[in-house]
């Protein structure tokens, strides 16, 4: 599949703003999408702190799709839709990879004990832990051979209230 990688321009809606992005299923495509989105969301007025949260949450969700839904296949597609208003940013990710095991999100998971011996430390499994820490209202669904993962991020620095620009 030839995925045209692009961030679509921000759309101004009656109750907020939205943008969309699409990418293919490789770690480098994820990196480039995150850089594109950082630029677009900086222009939209998100604070550096909130941008950090959004970028990390999206990174973990996208890496999960690349590694587990597509299992390293480079020819898959992923779409990202982001909508935001004053204090909340909502993300919807879709992909055509394998379903989440059991068609459900994993449990929040145990936080690794700080006292573990170094040789017992995990080198993976932190992604879901980070996503849970950074996001709210995570939902997963599957239909038409597609995975849908949605989550919300509470913005620490509320954006200015949306105002309609008057013509003339």
């Amino acid at each position: 599949m030839n995925v045209k990688e692009i961030t679509l321009p921000v759309r101004h809606l009656a109750n907020g703003h939205a943008l969309a992005d699409r990418l293919c299923s490789t770690p480098h495509a994820v990196r480039h999408a995150l850089l594109r989105l950082r630029e677009a969301l900086t222009a939209a007025g998100l604070s550096p702190e909130d941008l950090g949260t959004v970028e990390l949450a999206l990174a973990e969700a996208l890496n999960n799709i690349v590694e587990h839904a597509y299992r390293g296949r480079a020819d898959g597609w992923i779409t990202i839709e982001i909508a935001w208003q004053r204090t909340t940013l909502r993300c919807l990710l879709q992909d055509g990879g394998r379903a989440m095991p059991g068609l459900r999100l994993p449990p929040p998971g145990a936080v690794f004990a700080a006292a573990s011996a170094i040789e017992d430390l995990p080198e993976g499994g932190f992604g879901w832990q980070l996503l849970v820490a950074l996001t709210q209202n995570r939902r997963y669904g599957r239909s038409g051979g597609r995975n849908h993962l949605a989550f919300e991020i509470r913005l620490q620095d509320p954006l200015p209230t949306f105002c309609h620009q008057q013509a003339g």
Partner: protein, 112 residues
Amino acid sequence: MQIETSERGGSLTVAVRGGRIDAACAQRFKDDMRLALACEPRHVLLDLSEVEFIDSSGLGAIIASKKALPQGAEMALAGLQPRVARVFALTRMDRVFAIHEAGLPPGHSTAA
């Protein structure tokens, strides 16, 4: 992403050059660190001051490097930007590494 190393008296300083340790370069970071640690240092300082973004893959790669150290050797981190420090805090890995809050301690430099 590249690393630069300097070694003095069994103490190795590794500076990460480049702004990200993410899924796209985590394996390379691990491989580069394994080569750098072949000198069997007693102490390693990882200078992350240029790193502005790290994800769970990058965190896992740093943990793998710590685990690859010789028995009894230590690894400390320095120069964490706020976004990077947050990843260590949220996963509680800030309790596993010694973290120098204010840049590089004296005696560590990768400058030529």
